[in-house]
Amino acid sequence: MHIEIEELAKEFGTERALHPVSLAIPSGALIALLGPSGSGKTTLLRILGGLEFPTSGRVLFDGSDATGLTVQERRAGFVFQHYALFKHMTVFENIAYGLRARKRRERPTEAEIGRRVNRLLDLIQLPDIGARYPSQLSGGQRQRVALARALAIEPRMLLLDEPFGALDAKVRKELRQGLRDIHDTTGLTTIFVTHDQEEAMELADLVVVMSMGRIEQVGKPAEIRARPANDFVRSFTAA
């Protein structure tokens, strides 16, 4: 699914979190929103996911206006920085949640849900942890379960907020490759937020550098490295 963002702005009271920004995201791309805290990257991601609503501007999904769609209608697979797993449910129940939450007509049978959950557990390479509770998992395992849970609803896009932010350096490297593989397998348009320029440059097809609610530059990692648009981009992406 390709996404267009047209003159999108967001104010919290008198605070401008997002100046009018525009951006076109091609279908199937893996995009990084890169910037320091307060740059508006998470706000932009949350608007795409339907968790915040813009003060002005439009969002188009595959060419049709999605600005007024509710969060439930958007079918965006959203992964939070701290995963927000349901503590009182097993891994299996966590992943099955989105399917079971559907209206009866659209809900798959329990057998079908079981098949899909097991396929996702295989995809994240944790086939045997379905019966465990989140408190019994490591940080990296939690992140992958959160990813599988987001994929279970057959999302139209994948949105990840600092997906590696709460992990130590070694696990972070491993999971980066994991996300790349899952993106390549599913072909989903994937947008992730990060403040780590190395992570953005290594993983993304296209990097969107943001600062103070504005988009400073959009480009392939190599382009941004070679030709930074301004001093901010230069200093922020300097390795």
């Binding site: 996911g49 339907g50 968790l51 969060v71 439930q72 958007r74 079918r75 965006a76 697979g77 959203f78 939070f80 701290h82 927000a84 797993l85 349901f86 503590k87 009182h88 949640y97 989105g98 939450a101 559907r102 509770y133 989140p134 408190s135 019994q136 959160a146 849970r149 987001a150 279970a152 609803i153």
Partner: protein, 279 residues
């Protein structure tokens, strides 16, 4: 530093003194009297105890005490969760006043609550007159006992659930929405199970309090034997007849049933806390 088998060493002084004061007061005020009650029971013997409790009037009273406490506590469980939610999550005029007023039943003496509820719900009271055309009688019926127990048990669930709602992780609710769940589904499947252990604690406290409640109930109950006579009142009546053995028998029966109930609730709670990985 003296260390003993029972205590690991600590550099801080005052263990002997503080432990001594604690045990002395605990023994005189709580442990010795309760032992005297249980000792009395042992002296009477289980067979005679059973004979003394096994009368229709006492069974009716015990049943009434526990039934009314259960009904009032279930009401307070549901209302307490909703009220805690409203007080934490919504902003409206008078919220702080109501938040403070929730503790009124803790602060208002039970006898005061008792006569005041009776004045309201008696046939010539404000609520009593309003309800009479509907054919509803509250004062001097079991309904009146429910009202009194709802009043005194109201704060418990609110106060145990409130801090849990304050610390709820909003992202968990958000993630549920992104997975396509309607708000009611999120509340039912995500929020409610998280509140359950705390709500259950409040429920147990309210239940324990209402089972033994006396002051607020006796005024509004009418105290008709077999109908609206609660177990604590029966103890008072036996004591006034100087029938200490019979009073002790009812007291022991109440203690045993209360502890069995609290034990059951504790077990449910350990089970539910273990499920969400808190233990």
């Amino acid at each position: 530093m003296r260390a003993s088998l029972l205590r690991s060493p600590s550099p801080l002084p005052g263990f002997g003194l503080s432990f001594g004061i604690m045990m002395a007061i605990l023994s005189i005020v709580v442990l010795l009297p309760l032992s005297a009650l249980l000792g009395r029971g042992l002296m009477i013997g289980p067979a005679d105890l059973w004979d003394m409790v096994n009368s229709r009037r006492i069974w009716s009273a015990l049943e009434l005490s526990f039934r009314a406490a259960l009904i009032a506590s279930v009401f307070n469980l549901v209302f307490g969760i909703v009220l805690a939610w409203v007080l934490v999550r919504y902003r409206f005029w008078g919220r702080k006043l109501v938040d403070a007023a929730v503790d009124l039943p803790f602060a208002l003496p039970t006898a005061v609550a008792g006569i005041s509820l009776t004045a309201l719900y008696a046939p010539n009271g404000v609520f009593g007159q309003a309800l009479a055309p509907l054919g509803i009688k509250v004062a001097y019926t079991e309904l009146g006992i429910w009202m009194a127990l709802i009043f005194i048990g109201l704060p418990f669930v609110v106060r145990t659930v409130q801090p849990v709602i304050e610390e709820l992780d909003r992202e968990v609710e958000e993630v549920s929405a992104t997975l396509g769940a309607r708000r009611t589904y999120t509340l039912r499947r995500v929020v409610l199970p998280t509140l359950a252990p705390a709500a259950l604690t409040g429920f147990a406290l309210a239940l324990a309090r209402s089972v033994g409640e006396y002051g607020s109930v006796i005024f509004i109950a009418g105290n008709i034997p077999n109908l609206t006579e609660i177990a604590p009142l029966l103890i008072v009546i036996r004591l006034e007849e100087y029938n200490y053995d019979a009073a002790a028998a009812i007291g022991i029966a109440m203690l045993l049933i209360s502890f069995a109930m609290l034990l059951a609730i504790n077990l449910i709670q350990i089970w539910s806390r273990r499920r969400i990985g808190l233990v």
